[in-house]
């Protein structure tokens, strides 16, 4: 039987060039579905990746209770003092807590491509910034100085928005701020932001207090101790989260929306491609009617014939899947875009065509191919031998 299958399949594949037009419909139709599916899902994956990379398990973020996001939150100076004495906090050599008290605001900066204003996060950060966030590195220019109106811009923000190169001047509320440098930080969400001294930002926006505090813990295991100390303190009303958890929550709604939209569009396209595949395989079976009938007449079983048609459809769709995924990877992998993230502010991220996405795309291709190949294969297997021979 296996021999029969190989023989039937190779005969089918050898006659493929004669049916190039019809066969290419399967390949191109499925390539289109997979390319769209993988590209759109790559957007969701890239966004999630950017936010997921923003956290370290041994870092905690403290917000006012019930605030959900930094932009809504408000901590007083007294709150931050209390937090800096909590157990489990890492300390520097002089015994000072590794805690960055931060103030998050958004400012209008024009987008590079459209020139329309976009909300960019201006994050006031505490003096312990570089110790709390060791992944942050200046790649151009220098660090800002505290107490003067200087800021550094994330590498992602510099690309997506206008006027953020070192030496540029940003006019914010009556005052000029100088961009002194560009930083990278593992491709995380902060690369979409502008960073400056927290008290200088506070005086500029007339806010006496902070949005959040970011704490480096001695070890990741100290989180529970640290959290319990803060949440049981009657003086404080705060939410304490591990950074990765906080950012995962922030990325969830948008990632979900992108995945739902991408999958819906791809399902609709897949239905179309399946009809295309049905069409091509039916016409392939019709064109090979005489050949198939002859095979049956000389003793080939129905099953090898059925399988050979299905495998042919599968191979064509596999080719389509690989082409589609490659196109998505070629055109969009690493493509940098920005969108409104969780809290009113722009997040710059790169489309990421992951291995999982490529595998997903190819699985989709195979399913479409199998569905589109099954009924034509069934017809081939059931072909009334005598009639088919006579018709020719």
């Amino acid at each position: 039987m296996f021999k029969q299958l190989i023989a039937a399949l190779s005969m089918g594949l050898q006659t493929l060039p004669q049916r190039l037009g019809a066969s290419s419909v399967i390949v191109i139709g499925i390539a289109g579905v997979v390319a769209v599916l993988v590209s759109v899902l790559a957007m969701g994956a890239g966004f999630k990746h950017t936010l997921a990379d923003s956290g370290r398990a041994d870092r905690a973020i403290i917000l006012r209770g019930g605030s959900d996001a930094e932009l809504n939150s408000n901590l007083t100076r007294a709150d931050v003092d209390t937090i800096s004495n909590a157990p489990g906090l890492a300390k520097d050599s002089s015994g000072k807590a590794l805690l960055s008290n931060e103030l998050v605001t958004v400012v209008n900066v024009p987008k590079a491509d459209t020139g329309t204003d976009a909300n960019v996060t201006l994050r006031g950060v505490g003096l312990k910034l570089t110790e709390v966030r060791p992944e942050l590195k200046i790649v151009d220019g220098r660090m800002f100085h505290p107490a003067v109106r200087e800021l550094i811009a994330g590498a992602g923000a510099v690309k997506q928005f206008r006027g953020l190169t070192p030496g540029s001047v940003l006019h914010l509320r009556n005052a000029d701020w100088i961009v002194t440098g560009v930083f990278i930080s593992n491709g995380d969400v902060h690369e979409s932001e502008l960073l400056a001294d927290v008290d200088t930002v506070g005086s500029s926006v007339e806010r006496n207090g902070y949005s959040s505090a970011v704490a480096l813990l001695t070890t990741a295991a100290d989180f529970t101790r640290f959290k319990d100390a803060l949440t049981t303190d009657p003086q404080l009303k705060v939410d304490v989260q591990r950074e990765p958890e906080y950012y995962a929550t922030q990325s969830k709604p948008l990632t979900k929306a992108i995945n739902v939209v991408g999958t819906t569009v791809a399902i609709i396209m897949a239905i179309g491609a399946m009809f295309g595949a049905l069409n091509s395989m039916y016409s392939a079976v019709a064109a090979r009617g005489l050949e198939i009938a002859t095979l049956r007449a000389i003793g080939f079983g129905a099953l090898p014939v059925l399988l050979s048609v299905m495998i042919e459809a599968l191979l064509l769709s596999l080719l389509g899947g690989v082409i589609g995924a490659s196109l998505a990877w070629l055109f969009f992998n690493g493509h940098s875009v920005s969108t409104l993230g969780g809290a009113f502010a722009q997040v710059v991220f790169q489309l990421t065509v992951t291995k999982t996405l490529i595998v997903t795309g190819i699985i989709w291709a195979c399913v479409i191919g199998l569905l589109g190949g099954f009924f034509p294969a069934l017809r081939a297997a059931r072909l009334p031998v005598a009639e088919a021979l006579r018709a020719a």
Binding site: G21, A22, S24, V25, I28, G29, A31, G32, V33, A35, V36, S39, V40, M43, G65, G66, S67, D68, A69, L71, N72, N74, T105, V106, V107, N108, K111, D113, T114, T116, D117, A118, N119, L172, R173, N174, V205, E206, K237, V265, I268, M269, I271, G272, A273, F275, G276, L278, N279, S280, Y282, S283, V337, S338, T339, L340, F344, Q346
Partner: protein
């Protein structure tokens, strides 16, 4: 027209193939229609609330920075400004953070005067609202969503504003009435709205007193809105709270643009759909003509001119594409209410479907021309002898 029966007959010559081709194309045009509609909706924020005579004034440097309440009088004195009202962002949800509520503290008199063309509120409900300090007017869609009734007390969690009295983020409102959108196309936009008294908000909050999130203005003459906008901004130039005034429509558009280049994503998908359609339909047309070569030769023999044969094949291609477009785009029109569920705040218009028919004609011409030319150039003798 007299050739229509002939076209119809040739179209259905191979039933299975035509049906599968049509099904495939219908699905493609369905997607085409949906994506075109969404693209159009994002490029054209709805009218009504964002009508041409409405302006919006925000802090020039950041929408999160507040403006002083005292600006109200100065803005009102600007010639051309018919009404001004002030609003703040309340950032509320009900019970769980996924139940977002578009709750807005508004000044009753000026807000309803400014938006008088947008809300239907019964006189009785309006009176009850005016009389109840903790009262709220709720969109009837939102009432239905949570099963609220007039007379209910509902707690809303603000993610921003703590109350002065106990530091709590939970604010309790009495639902005293409901409203509907006057313009039904606005209904989806207002579906999550709850309005309550600005006075209650300003007196109750523990910080930020005397500031407002943004101002909205109605102008006498929409054609003068650019001039009026710059007059308003000039009032506060070089102050510590400079303003940015723009038509409400532009504000909405800028916000949508911040989501990213949605248009590019949609057009890229449309491109991929169109490209695969080209192959699918092109293949069907090629096959159809190839199989009919002897028949076409017969037509020519009995006196059909080259031009007519050309026209017949292009006509068949047009017929195929237009049938698919009509059904597919028709289905996407029927799908509008479903899309509306997922896209609150933007308006969907059937005019967005017109380019779909354009695409169908273009498709028909591209895929019809090569086989039509082949049919036209057919040599009768060779074709009849079946030498392809």
């Amino acid at each position: 027209m007299k050739y229509f029966p002939l076209l119809w007959a040739t179209l259905w010559r191979k039933k299975t193939r035509t049906i599968f081709t049509l099904l495939s194309m219908i699905v493609a045009f369905l997607l085409f229609g949906i994506l075109e509609t969404v693209d159009y909706a994002f490029a054209h924020p709805s009218g009504g609330a964002t009508g041409a005579d409405k302006l919006i004034t925000t802090n020039k440097y950041s929408i999160t920075l507040a403006l002083p309440f005292s600006y109200t009088q100065q803005i009102r004195s600007v010639p051309g400004v018919a009404e001004v009202t002030w609003i703040s962002w309340f950032g509320a949800y009900y019970q769980e953070s996924k139940n977002f509520i578009f709750a807005l503290p508004v000044d009753t008199g000026t807000y309803f005067n400014l938006h008088k063309d947008e809300f239907i509120v019964s006189a009785e409900h309006m009176q009850a609202y005016r009389n109840t300090r903790t009262g709220a007017l709720v969109s009837s869609k939102l009432m239905k969503k949570f099963g609220w009734k007039v007379g209910d007390k509902v707690p809303l969690h603000s993610t921003i504003w703590t109350q002065k009295k106990d530091g709590s983020l939970d604010w309790i409102f009495d639902i005293v009435g409901t409203f509907d959108a006057k313009d039904p196309t606005q209904a989806s936009q207002q579906a999550q709205t709850l309005l309550f008294h600005y006075d209650l908000f300003d007196e109750g909050r523990s910080f930020g007193k005397g500031t407002v999130g943004w101002f909205e203005e109605r102008v006498d003459d929409p054609t003068q809105s650019a001039a009026t906008s710059s007059k308003i901004d000039a009032l506060f130039a070089n102050s510590s709270n400079e303003t940015k005034t723009q038509p409400a429509k532009e504000f909405a558009l800028a916000f949508i643009k911040q989501l990213g280049d949605i248009g590019f994503v949609l057009r890229a998908i449309l491109g991929a759909v169109f490209f695969t359609l080209l192959f699918l339909t092109g293949n069907t047309m090629m096959q159809s003509v190839r199989e009919r070569i002897p028949e076409l030769a017969v037509l020519k023999t009995i006196g059909f001119g080259d031009g007519i044969v050309l026209g017949l094949v292009i006509g068949e291609s047009l017929l195929l594409c237009l049938i698919a477009a009509a059904i597919g785009l028709g289905l996407s029109f029927l799908a509008l209410p479903i899309i509306r569920l997922g896209l609150q705040g933007v308006e969907l218009s059937p005019t967005a479907l017109i380019p779909g028919f354009g695409a169908a004609v273009l498709l028909a011409l591209i895929v019809g021309t090569p086989p039509a030319l082949r049919a036209m150039r057919l040599n009768i003798v060779d074709a009849l002898a079946d030498k392809r």
